[in-house]
Symmetry: C2
Subunit: 291 residues, 2 copies
């Protein structure tokens, strides 16, 4: 019987903890954390994500600013906005919601964000600090996964953790965090990707699988061993006429097949997703201390 | 029959290539690369390493400066020296030879080095850039290994690369470079370390093994499969009365046992070691363009 790693419930608990902390800060006369979010253009999914972040800020008592910029804004104008936020002492941390329109170089924007306000943890200095085990902003999704593993006390030390996908946002940082000398951590880590030849065999040897490739129901029951812990980072919209909104959300894991064999498993939705926003809030609180 | 990955010969070839490039630069009236090295105190091994670096500079036609500081220099004074080198336009890149005396915080010093002069590639910004596949100074030892794999055309794509050791200087960066979408690269990568439970089994499944733990002759013949490619990063002095200097150098690999099964193998000494200095020279040449 598998234990559900309930990201929704855990994130609500973190919200409560943060709300308590904000009340203490106010009582002490300290600075209330302030998160800003830049959104460029009118991408529906981006808007949904940013709105959820702003709503969570309100809920936990953080200040928030939503900066909506037009789709056709120039790269220079966006860089000027970034510089403005870097210099605005009232804002502790901010994010630039990705993806950006094609005429803007995302790397250039990411590099322009002051590392001490980079609560998404995407700036090379934060990535490098994570790799070196120095204080930093952890990228939100990996940080959320680590928090889930910690709170549910999923055994990681000496375990074989297989990561499917080598993305800069999830796969690669997750690998570094899982091999670090820490708990959670101290796992033997295998990073697999599109060039991996014997993925099934590798997955069958895994005690923990972190799937982050964005292929719906990719990981099937025959690919996992009894007792495996499963973290499903994938979240893909698949057309579904029976749903009111016309789609349903699928993870990278075939839940029905894999769950019966798993010791721990995250659902989709309600697993890693809500933890990502909770991590962003934790980073914003941390940013107050760093600034 | 295994092919020897001859780091000594390869590094000499790189020296020649660099010397040719320096002559071209001089002809074009460009800036001749200038490497500076700070050495604190009188550690014998450190002095040997730094001298070898300075000598290689002379050989390839780079300018070099050796800055010897007393063992009891204060952290503040060392930081002042670092700031001076950051601001000295005549110096393209520099290193602070580690280890430093115990009263100095190595991390603080590393963080103070300007990333664009950090030819050792130890600053978090360079580490993060490497992880993200952005232009950077690669740390010298991993860069040297990649260069060896490239020049000997060791197959890496889709191969299982097992890394023994998770150090910030070798194991961790090597993992990132081996899984990157590049040649060499595109390997399935497993990072193992002191908490790994079934190392022998994992090594037996490896097509490539990179051993970097500093335990003499740790990897034995029974731990590798036929046809494996071996990179031995270890280099430990072991007392040997039959030698004039009283010691011999041993790698992490039992060469006699492993070599007959290997497709490629680095010797110790004469393998990874000389490549490390060659990489430092390559980084210094790159630094001229970055500054």
């Amino acid at each position: 019987m598998s234990i559900l790693l309930d990201g929704k419930a855990t994130s609500l608990k973190i919200h409560d903890e943060l709300a308590v902390r904000v009340k203490e800060i106010k009582k002490e006369g300290g600075k209330v954390p302030h998160l800003a979010a830049i959104i460029v253009g009118d991408n529906g999914a981006s808007r949904t994500y940013v709105n959820a972040k702003v709503k969570t800020c309100e809920k936990v008592g953080f200040e928030s600013s939503l900066i909506q910029l037009p789709e056709d804004i120039s790269e220079v104008a966006l860089l000027a906005k970034v510089a403005e936020l870097n210099n605005d002492a009232s804002i502790d941390g901010y994010i630039v919601q990705l993806p950006l329109p094609k005429h803007i170089d995302e790397t250039k924007i990411t590099l322009a964000i002051a590392p001490h306000k980079d609560v998404d943890g995407f700036h090379p200095e934060n990535v490098g600090r994570m790799a070196l085990g120095l204080p930093c902003f952890l990228p939100a999704t990996p940080a959320g996964i680590v928090e889930l593993l910690k709170r549910y006390e999923v055994p990681t030390e000496g375990k074989h953790c297989v990561i499917i996908g080598r993305s800069h946002i999830v796969g690669a940082p997750m690998a570094m965090l899982m091999w670090q000398n820490a708990i959670p951590g101290n796992s033997t880590v295998t990073v697999t990707h599109s060039r991996t030849t014997n993925l099934k065999e590798i997955c069958l040897s895994a005690d923990i699988i972190i799937a982050a490739i964005g292929k719906p129901e990719f990981l099937t029951g025959d690919m996992v061993k009894e007792g495996v812990a499963i973290i499903d980072v994938g979240i893909t919209r698949v057309a579904d006429a029976t749903k009111k909104n016309g789609y349903r959300l699928l993870g990278d894991v075939n839940f029905e097949e894999v769950a019966p064999k798993a010791s721990f498993i995250t659902p989709v939705p309600g697993g890693v997703g809500p933890m990502t926003i909770a991590s962003l809030m934790i980073n914003t609180l941390k940013a107050v201390d760093r600034n």
